[in-house]
């Protein structure tokens, strides 16, 4: 039975599903990476995702236009981000709690809207699989990587893009400086507030897409609390990735792959209690960090509101 795990079908299955599972994590965690690099911890990701998921679903169902759904999810996420930015930057509220506040708000409001506007669980025709020409015909690799829906591709393309923005642009330089030493950035005329607004809104926007990727691309339904902790895992993955986009990618893939492996372990009837199998991705994610000695410190100003003059 264990040897079944190494059959081609299973390996392809694990990889393909790992990549799908990683998609929402990538959107949310890359967005969170920007926020944290600029010194803002947003624990409201899950709430933003839920509202994004609902909005995308509702708009898609009403208009039949999936891209309009994605766009409205982005807007809703951005608005949540804007609110979060106002509260943490202007009002200098403790980031940890305000994030939890926004999470609860998103969790409740998305469910409330769902009950009042939709009333019942429905399905939508989401983004179809989009086989990349040529690439999707490659044996094995094609099936794993290139027969996914468009939002999956975009999420992966986001990783190098984020890396590029953070490390190669003046904006990225400002973001990194603001997250490490806002006083220094401020003294050079960099507006800490503007940078943080930007990253938090960007984070919200990406969380919105993360939600949309669930409700109109991967699952094609909306259900109350459908993210079920996914947003918090995404935040954790930012720490796993040590605030580096490629590190985050590694974490998201690891977590998702082990999760799909875990599903296969059960399907193949390998005699492990189901609860223990479900623990696997969580344990392994920690273990990988234990063996890979990383010495990266969190951005020094993370969670610290910036105010000039004490």
């Amino acid at each position: 039975m264990i040897s079944d795990l190494f059959s081609m079908t299973v390996l392809v299955g694990i990889l393909a599903s790992g990549i799908r599972l990683a998609t929402p994590y990538l959107y949310a965690a890359i967005g969170e990476t920007f926020g944290q690099r600029s010194g803002v911890l947003n624990l409201g990701v899950e709430g933003q995702m839920l509202l994004g998921a609902f909005t995308a679903f509702y708009v898609a169902i009403q208009t039949g236009n999936l891209w309009l759904g994605v766009l409205s999810a982005m807007i809703v996420g951005a608005v949540m981000g804007l609110a979060m930015a106002f509260v943490t930057v202007n009002l200098q509220a403790v980031q940890g709690i305000s994030g939890i506040g926004f999470y609860l708000f998103g969790l409740g409001l998305s469910d409330l809207l769902f009950q009042r506007v939709l009333g019942t669980v429905e399905t939508v025709k989401g983004f179809p699989k989009f086989n990349l020409p040529v690439l999707s015909d490659l044996p094995i690799v094609g099936e794993i990587f290139f027969q996914q829906n468009i939002l999956v591709y975009i999420s992966f393309a986001l990783v190098p893009l984020a890396w590029f923005v953070l490390n190669k642009t003046t904006l990225g330089l400002k973001i990194r400086a603001v997250g490490e030493n806002p006083e220094a950035a401020d003294s050079l005329g960099v507006s800490v507030a503007r940078i943080r607004y930007l990253t938090i809104i960007l984070g919200g926007t990406l969380s919105g897409i993360a939600g949309a990727s669930l409700s109109i691309a991967l699952l094609n339904v909306f259900q109350q609390n459908m993210t079920s902790g996914l947003g918090f895992i995404a935040v954790a993955l930012v720490y796993f990735g040590a605030w580096r986009p490629f590190g985050v990618l590694g974490g998201a893939l690891l977590f998702s792959l082990v999760n799909s492996l875990q599903l296969w372990v059960q399907v193949l009837g390998i005699p492990i209690p189901s609860d223990i199998a479900v623990m696997m991705p969580y344990i392994l994610t920690i273990l990988v960090l234990v063996i890979s000695v990383s010495r990266v410190r969190a951005p020094s100003a993370l969670t610290k509101p910036f105010k000039r003059e004490e």
Binding site: A93, V94, L107, Q115, Y282, A298
Partner: protein, 386 residues
């Protein structure tokens, strides 16, 4: 000199009232939502108040709800002061409860005065264990504690379902087809004393006493001094000879221990057994998270966490009552909680501003009075050359 002190008194009162105003502001926003749902907000909020403070029983329920928040919050005060962000309260509550419950299930022949304290200690130890693991991982393997505690929450939930539907299952349920994942009920004499006829149990009092002890720990002991110093500046602490790693572990161990205690108290004070609905929060009631909110509301001060827990407990209990009375979906209640949290933390800034303004005003007052060295003395050393 009576005037300044009187002003001070006013100022303090306004400071205290500030979060209450913020809560009211959030409720006004909530009122709009209620109106959209065709619910009379006044009726709804009357129910909320009634449910939180309206009767002896309501008040007791509020305190019952506040107890785990306070306990978890105390742990949070310790760890956050040590700059260790413990998000693992949920898992630590669960593991504390599991180990504490084992004591009650195994020592059935022992007297209650022995079992109950032992069980509470076991819960304390269980939470310490579940907090200690991320602590060790952080100190010795540089594994970020936010990541590990979030992951350990999920692991604890699965561990709980595994145990409750297998090794620890209620023998009565093991016989039945329903196989409810729950342990056997605790013996009558193993339960924390209650303030009959309410559910208010001794744990609430214990939690308040512990708040005082945590205050002493943090500001009156060398352990507390070191935890805070490591939290503020590990480099300087290392140079001062403090074993930074040990205190990182200690911060998480203690933080987890208090959450573990909160968990075991839910068993010995409220539910009298462990039950799971498959989620962590079914057992913890999200106290592992809400405790963080309470502690931060309390400015990470153990004594400040007491009123903060009560406020938050009242809100949770009152909102449930509101849901029953005016029949709004639980979703609205959750969204409303979120709003209150956001509004209250946002209101903090006014308090800080007021404080600053007050200090500045005081000083402007002092400047009027002659000081030790003033301009005339300075002039003695040389005037303007230009």
């Amino acid at each position: 000199m009576s005037k300044p002190s009187q002003e001070n008194w006013y100022a303090k009162l306004i400071d205290i009232a500030l979060p209450i105003f913020a809560t009211l502001a959030a409720l006004i926003v909530g009122a709009v939502m209620l109106l959209l749902l065709n619910v009379n907000p006044i009726e709804a909020y009357a129910a909320l108040w009634e449910g939180a403070f309206g009767s002896q029983n309501a008040l007791a329920e509020t305190l019952v709800k506040a107890t785990p928040l306070l306990l978890v919050g105390l742990g949070i005060c310790i760890s956050f002061r040590g700059d260790v962000i413990n998000i693992g309260g949920e898992g630590q509550m669960i593991v504390g409860a599991i180990i504490g419950t084992q004591v009650g299930l195994r020592m059935v022949d022992s007297p209650g005065w022995l079992v109950v304290p032992l069980a509470l200690l076991a819960g304390f130890a269980g939470g310490a264990l579940w907090g200690g693991i991320p602590g060790l991982l952080k100190a010795y393997f540089n594994v970020n504690e936010i990541l590990s505690t979030v992951m350990m929450n999920a692991i604890a939930v699965q561990l709980m379902t595994f145990l409750l539907r297998g090794p620890m299952i209620d023998p009565a349920q093991a016989e039945l087809a329903s196989k409810i994942p729950q342990t056997a009920r605790l013996m009558e004499n193993f339960r924390l004393p209650r303030w009959i006829p309410t559910r208010l149990h001794l744990g609430a009092l214990i939690a308040v006493v512990l708040a005082v002890l945590v205050y002493i720990l943090l500001w009156r002991t060398t352990w507390g001094y070191r935890i805070r110093s490591v939290g503020q500046n590990p480099d300087a602490s290392a140079y001062a000879g403090i074993q930074v790693k040990n205190y990182i572990v200690l911060a998480l161990v203690l933080s987890g221990a208090f959450a573990g205690l909160a968990g075991v108290m839910q068993v010995y004070g409220v539910n009298y057994r462990m039950i799971t609905d498959g989620s962590g929060s079914g057992f913890t009631g999200r106290a592992g998270f809400n405790g963080i909110v309470a502690a931060l509301f309390g400015q990470l001060h153990p004594l400040g966490t007491i009123p903060a827990s009560i406020l938050f407990g009242a809100l949770l209990v009152g909102a449930n009552k509101m849901q029953r009375v005016v029949q709004v979906p639980s979703a609205l209640v959750i969204a409303l909680n979120g709003l209150v949290v956001v509004f209250v933390v946002s209101s903090e800034i006014w308090r800080r501003k007021r404080q600053r303004r007050r200090l500045a005003a005081e000083m402007a007052l002092q400047e009027g009075a002659p000081g030790e060295s003033d301009g005339s003395e300075a002039a003695h050393y040389g005037g303007e050359v230009d």
